[in-house]
Structure formats: structure tokens, C-alpha cells
């Protein structure tokens, strides 16, 4: 028991020590992240998990630096994590991991800013509408058309959650945010995308 506690303490201290060293020497931190990515390329799940977790603050800083709205930063983080996964074969361990990651994060931040710009130019958005005017006659999910249910099931997780929480369960934005752990901005964006996807699928525009 005591040995277990000691082991936990020592790993916590080691982690703290690594973090302090990283703060003092950014090059060493970069090399460590590069090493983790090299291990992830070889299929090391633990290294990959650590790498993705340690990448989140770097992505957040890049998104904020690009001027992404605070409620959309989580979307940029998730898009960037997905891109890291798809592009991991392009990382060269001889080069800076932070530079590799920052380029991807900044690209995804710019994509997000463009999406937001397009959304604003096309829609008149009443911020209070979701909060103050819930539908008083909600349609139970069981009575929904089977095709619609299937289409909702086929949505990406974030979009499906937004539809379920805001439309099917008729929750307010604040309640949905609490239930899903997503920001209200991310939920609104996901709901918008989900409705667009569903409209396209149900009208047969998309395969």
C-alpha cells in the first residue's frame, strides 16, 4: 500500500519536474513532444494520449492568437486533434513538433473564422430565441419518422448531441451545455451544421 502511494507520489513529482524543466527549456519540451509523436507513429497509445493532452494548451493558444471567439475555441481544439490524427504520418521527428502542430492549429483556426464569417453573413441570429422560446409541444423521439432517426444517428457525435439535447429533449442551451460538457457556442454551431446536414440528407441531395 505504502509502496503504491510512494510510486504515485514519485510519478506526480516526476510529472511536475518535467513540466518545470519544460517551462525552462522550450527546446527540450519540443524534443519531448517530438519523441512522444515518434512513439505514437509506432503505435504507442500511452505516448499518443499524453501527446494529445499536452497539445491542447498549445492549440488553445494558437486559436486565441488567431482571434477565435472563446466559445469556438473548443471546436478548433477538436478539429485540430482530428487533423493531428489524420496527418500524423507527415511528422518528421527530426523537426520541431510545436511548429508542425502550430501550423495545423492555425489553419483550423482560420477555417473556423471563415465558417463564423459565412454564418454571420447568411443568418440573422436571435441569441435569446433558444433560451426564451422553447417549443411547448415537443414531438417525442419515438414518434419521429424512422428515416429521420436514422439520419440523426448517422450524424457526427457533436452534431447528434446538439440535436438530441436542444431539439428532441427540448433543453435550454445552458442545460444542454451542462449535460454535454460543450460550450453553448459550440452547441449552436453543431445544431446549425446538423440541421443543414439533415436537410441535405432528407431531401436526397447527399448520398
Amino acid at each position: 500500500m505504502q509502496a503504491g502511494i510512494l510510486s504515485l507520489e514519485s510519478s506526480a513529482l516526476r510529472a511536475m519536474g518535467t513540466s518545470c524543466v519544460d517551462r525552462r527549456d522550450p527546446d527540450q519540451a519540443d524534443r519531448r513532444l517530438g519523441g512522444l509523436m515518434a512513439s505514437a507513429q509506432a503505435g504507442d497509445r500511452a505516448a499518443y494520449d499524453t501527446l494529445l493532452r499536452e497539445s491542447v494548451p498549445i492549440i488553445r493558444a494558437a486559436a486565441r492568437g488567431r482571434g477565435v471567439a472563446p466559445d469556438a475555441v473548443d471546436d478548433v481544439i477538436q478539429e485540430t486533434l482530428l487533423t493531428i490524427h489524420r496527418a500524423r504520418h507527415t511528422y518528421d521527428p527530426g523537426r520541431s513538433f510545436r511548429a508542425w502542430l502550430r501550423t495545423i492549429a492555425e489553419r483550423r483556426a482560420i477555417d473556423q473564422l471563415r465558417r463564423q464569417g459565412r454564418l454571420r453573413s447568411r443568418e440573422v441570429h436571435d441569441e435569446a430565441a433558444y433560451e426564451t422560446h422553447p417549443d411547448t409541444t415537443p414531438e417525442p423521439a419515438a414518434e419521429l419518422d424512422a428515416g429521420l432517426c436514422q439520419a440523426i444517428d448517422g450524424l457526427p457525435e457533436g452534431q447528434r448531441q446538439a440535436v438530441e439535447e436542444l431539439t428532441l429533449k427540448d433543453r435550454s442551451l445552458a442545460e444542454a451545455a451542462q449535460a454535454t460538457g460543450r460550450s453553448s457556442g459550440a452547441l449552436k454551431v453543431n445544431l446549425h451544421r446538423a440541421l443543414k446536414t439533415l436537410r441535405a440528407r432528407l431531401s436526397g441531395e447527399e448520398g
Binding site: Y48, L52, D74, L81, T83, T90, R95, L101, G181, R182
Partner: protein
């Protein structure tokens, strides 16, 4: 960290498989250039290179133009593969500019010189246009397949460089087999063909390379 981000990290970890690292941009560029050399060798076997070499040797600016197009192809290919890797500077796009200026300058000089001495021959050199576009097709297909294996974050810029590399390589290959004199109209049609190939690949390539 948001709960959904935690979930995503877990899901990505679940889906982790070992990957083979992509070759360095220099290797990819050499591989693509090797493919271009193979096409040139195939054409040399069929058409022979005597007429083209005689044409190139007729004036110094023809050699310079061929050298310029060759360097443009090499450097544009290198720049396209560099840009296809995340983390590389966008300034790589400037790499082929000096070679492109040499190519344009030498071709322009040749064009002006022949125009001044022999005038516009009045011909419409569609065969040059077709040859450059035709040679560019396999080169462009190979380039797009190789670039898609990487991860271009600037698809439009990468596609434009790919288009320039293909057009320049095709023009270089054509210059080895092109019979006849360096007529002004002929050179003008080469320039038109290069612009057509670059434009087509810029427009279509950026869709194919978008990630």
C-alpha cells in the same frame, strides 16, 4: 479540458494504428522527377532527340530557356512537396521564382529576336499546346497522388506550384523533341500552354488537395 475533448482523445487513442512515415520532400521530388525522366526517355525512343537538340543549339537563349524550364520544374516540385508537409514555411513558394524569371526572360528574348528577324509566322501552333498539355497529364496525376499522401494545409498554393512544376517539366521534355526553328508564334504558344496547365491544376488541384 472539455468533456467532449476528453472523449475525443480517448476515441483517437482507440483508433491508433502504427503509421509509415512519409518520405522527405526531397525524396518525393526526386521520385516525381524520375517519373518525368522516364516519360522523356520513352518519348526519346519514339521520336529521337536530334531535331530538338539541333533547335536548342541554334541560339544561346534557347538553351537558357530550356535550363530555366528544367530548374523551374525541379524547384517548383521541391516547393510543392515542402508545402504539402505541415509545419513548413509558406516562403517555400518563392523557391522557383528565380528559375521562372530565367525561363520567362530567355523565352521572351528568343521570342523578340525571332519576331524582329522573321516576324510572326502566322501559324497557330496547336500541336505545341496539345503536346505540353498531353505530357502534363500523367505528370499531374502522379504529382496529385503523391501530394495527397502528404497533408497540404495550403491547397491552392500547393496546387499552383504542382501545376507550374508539371508545365515546366512538360515544356522541358518538349524542347528536347521539338523540330523546326524557334519561331515567335511557337514560343508564344509554349507560354500559353504553360499558363493553361498551371491554371487547370491550380483550380482542380486545390479541390483534390483540400484536407
Amino acid at each position: 479540458m472539455a468533456r467532449s475533448t476528453e472523449n475525443l482523445i480517448r476515441e483517437l487513442g482507440d483508433g491508433l494504428t502504427p503509421v509509415r512515415r512519409i518520405a522527405a520532400p526531397n525524396c518525393l521530388a526526386l521520385l516525381w522527377l524520375g517519373f518525368s525522366v522516364l516519360i522523356a526517355a520513352g518519348l526519346a525512343v519514339v521520336f529521337g532527340v536530334q531535331a530538338g537538340l539541333a533547335r536548342l543549339g541554334s541560339t544561346p537563349d534557347m538553351w537558357l530557356a530550356a535550363l530555366g524550364s528544367l530548374l523551374t520544374a525541379v524547384l517548383a516540385a521541391k516547393a510543392a512537396f515542402e508545402l504539402a508537409m505541415p509545419g513548413r514555411s509558406r516562403f517555400w513558394a518563392l523557391l522557383p521564382v528565380p528559375a521562372l524569371l530565367l525561363w520567362i526572360g530567355a523565352s521572351g528574348m528568343g521570342c523578340l529576336r525571332t519576331w524582329a528577324t522573321a516576324g510572326w509566322d502566322g501559324g497557330v501552333h496547336t500541336e505545341c499546346l496539345i503536346s505540353i498539355v498531353g505530357i502534363s497529364v500523367p505528370l499531374a496525376l502522379a504529382m496529385i497522388v503523391m501530394l495527397r499522401r502528404a497533408f497540404p494545409l495550403h491547397p491552392a498554393l500547393t496546387a499552383m506550384l504542382a501545376g507550374l512544376a508539371c508545365a515546366a517539366a512538360s515544356a522541358t521534355v518538349l524542347s528536347l523533341f521539338h523540330p523546326g526553328d524557334a519561331a515567335a508564334a511557337d514560343l508564344a504558344f509554349h507560354a500559353l500552354a504553360v499558363m493553361v496547365v498551371t491554371a487547370i491544376l491550380t483550380i482542380s488541384g486545390q479541390r483534390l488537395l483540400r484536407r
